[in-house]
């Protein structure tokens, strides 16, 4: 009796270890993980000096875990178990009500203050440039009532207030919190992604336009269309909760007549659309808006009013710019995470007199690249 049970356990153990390894060998290595949105490690080349310094084994370990077969299955399985254990978060993502996922927001420490100082310095150096700052709260603040019971992330309003108080009067601070709160019954944030939707961006645009005295376009000046119904964003990738339903992506096209000339300077591509529909077939569907992250994009429009603006931004701007673009002849979109040339030279050369900063609270609380603005 005892023997048969012992034999079964040995067989179970060995067969399991072997079959996982066989799968690892049989399934070809992948270059890129769409789910994790990153390049995966490849098998390291053997070098004696790397072996002796321990680098080879480290690289090998990275390679083995990155290429472990059925990673998604294991990660999703773990998420299921966590839910069974009554956990209300997984990998830093809260499971909210109504299918909302939220990324935890932690205390920004001094980051907000430091980054605001940098903006102040910029504004002080350029008294001739009108500077605006639009700081967008994340879904975790707007929909905080949907957070799990007793979850208490750091309050984003505190961060917004710190910035508002610290910012020089020479910079126009655009507070979109109230506007977004007023329209929170609409679909203004993705449930599974860290971005706002284009509808949310529209309300951000109206708040900016009111502050700048622009005659903004009413919602009925646009046709809206759903371009995708199966968007599972970054929060989903992290939380891996299979029971969450996907987001849809809504796009607004102007009913009025206007033409755009979009140049992606870093990849030398030009197009006359603000959207790149090939991304709708990929995992990261938000890249549909302005083709995802680029160091520098310029947009020229058929509005010959001579107005120019530069935008320093994170990806929240990608769904926002299609509204703002209708008020300017030239828009220069610069992503400080990837743009490494002198900003001063750029603004001077292109004779730009208006600058907009657009960040979401979460990125702005961690960003280390804003200092490049003063180079």
């Amino acid at each position: 009796m005892k023997n048969s049970s012992n034999k079964i356990i040995i067989i179970m153990f060995i067969v399991f270890l072997l079959s996982v390894n066989i799968l690892n060998i049989v399934i070809p290595d992948k270059e890129f993980s769409e789910l994790e949105n990153r390049v995966l490690s490849q098998i390291p080349k053997f070098q004696l000096n790397k072996l002796l310094s321990g680098q080879f084994t480290n690289k090998f370990e990275e390679y083995y875990v990155d290429q472990f077969s059925y990673r998604e299955f294991w990660v999703g399985f773990k998420a299921k178990v966590e839910k069974l254990l009554n956990k209300t978060e997984n990998n830093g993502i809260y499971f909210g009500e109504n299918g909302y996922l939220f990324e935890d927001y932690e205390s920004p420490g001094n980051k907000i203050k430091d980054n605001t100082e940098i903006i102040n310095e910029f504004s002080g150096k350029h008294p001739d440039i009108a500077t605006y700052f639009l700081l967008v709260p994340n879904s975790i603040k707007i929909y905080e009532e949907k957070l799990p019971l007793f979850a208490s992330p750091y309050d984003q309003l505190d961060s917004i207030k710190v910035m508002k108080d610290k910012l020089n009067k020479s910079v126009e601070f655009i507070d979109v919190y109230e506007t977004l709160m007023k329209n929170k019954d609409e679909y203004i944030y993705f449930k599974t992604d860290h971005h706002w939707t284009m509808r949310g961006a529209y309300y951000g645009y109206t708040a900016l336009a009111k502050e700048l005295g622009l005659n903004y376009y009413k919602m009925d000046s646009f046709n809206s269309r759903i371009v995708s119904k199966n968007f599972l964003g970054t929060y989903y990738s992290k939380a891996q909760d299979w029971s969450i339903s996907s987001d849809s992506i809504e796009v607004f096209y102007p009913k009025f007549d206007i033409q755009y000339e979009v140049s992606y300077k870093d990849t030398n591509k030009s197009t006359n659309s603000l959207y790149e529909s090939s991304h709708l077939e990929e995992k990261d569907k938000y890249s549909y808006f302005l083709d995802g992250n680029h160091a520098l994009i310029t947009i020229n429009t058929s509005i010959k009013n001579g107005k120019k603006i530069a935008i320093f931004k994170d990806s929240y701007s990608h769904s926002f710019i299609p509204f703002l673009v209708n008020h300017y002849e030239e828009i220069h979109v610069i992503d400080l995470r990837y743009y490494n040339l002198s900003i001063n030279d750029y603004l001077e050369k292109n004779n730009i007199k208006e600058v907009l900063f657009l960040y979401n609270v979460s990125t702005f609380s961690k960003d280390n690249n804003i200092r490049k603005i003063n180079y």
Binding site: K7, M12, N37, F68, N293
Partner: protein, 473 residues
Amino acid sequence: MIFSSLTFLFIFLPMTLLLYFIFPRKIKNIILLIASLIFYAWGEPIYILLMIFSSIVDYIHGMLIERYRDDGIKAKLAVISSVIINLSLLSFFKYSDFFILNINYLIGTSFDTLNLSLPIGISFYTFQTMSYTIDVYRGEAPVQRNPIALATYVTLFPQLIAGPIVRYQTVASQINNRKETIDKFAEGIKRFLIGLGKKVLLANNIGMLWSSVQNTPQNELTVVTAWLGIIAFSFQIYFDFSGYSDMAIGLGKMFGFDFLENFNYPYISKNITEFWRRWHISLGTWFKDYLYIPMGGNRVSKVKAYRNLFIVWFLTGLWHGASWNFVVWGLYFGIIIAIERVGFLKVLKRLGKPIGHFYAMFVVTVGWVFFVFDKLNEGIEYLKVMFGLNNVQFYNGQTFYYIINYGLLLIALIIFSTPFITKLHSKIMSKADGSLKILYENGVIIGFYFIILILTTAYLVDATYNPFLYFRF
């Protein structure tokens, strides 16, 4: 390399087992030796030289002791030389910065620290190798004439980096003669999986509660949250450490070894004397056999007996880490054990088991505060929060958030800290018979271990899961 990694579980272990079992008896120790050296060299290849050095030194000393067996003084010199070399290795790599910092503090010098990275497991294997020469000197174990066999003992990968501290006399005969059987191999797998589950599923997960509490600024903590935090740490360290010992014992069994137990449900103890008989048994035994008893133990004058007690607890504390908080932690237990010895044990027995148990857990949990904070003043501040002395709230929303998220896990941890499951298992095994027993053994039990295997794989893969929110960011 660590046991709780995908590379160990899926590559290193199956390969080592395969080679070990296809080669004949004569080669088996060499296979184990090579595997152990690879295991050790995996993360930090340079320190493999230290292991080899240690093996050679101990081999030579063992032989010298044997040769001068009849010449008391020379044999004694050999064993002293071996102890000095081993302790010097340990002191140099583990304690030199601590020493330098204290000298700087005391006499105002400003020597630079060496910032050496600590060779993994040095605290464990130096203690093991000392046990070899001492055991040979005392005649409690025969000298090992085969250098490969001795090196196999010194480097044996199952217990190399986190114990148990296997004294030479307990495995001396197994090194040359041991029997691998199917039953033992299956026992080994079970034991290994129990340990792996303890580490990956229990310790790591409750550790998240502790690190979340630890990272909360102390003015935002509450009394209940602080207690939850340190209770979480108490479970984390127990399941982490005993899980590691289980894995070591299990792996040993797969290769035919029988190591002594290292933990025996310490959290069911009813006093601190009992706790230390159940916690990290191999370390306690080591100090008792090689330090406390040789110093005279308690069979000397009262003053000397307490001196011996405090020396042992001072060193037990220091062994855990090169920092004063560990010394305080050790002496804290020394004082309590002294109090228990004076007569408090009898009082406790009269008060009954529940009060004894509560007292023991209270003392141990408070003790972990000294253990976990490297800086003594941080630990004291934390204790103030626990006892409501820092003007903090009693509880808040965050406290409830932790209870909701970790309540079920905490209940499971309490159950697994007791022999409940083991007792239930033996009861079923003795009561059930016929087909019911077969179903239980071949179904429930196998299923249980299979689930551990699947779950640990999922959690290990998840730990390497690293989604990027922003591409190229």
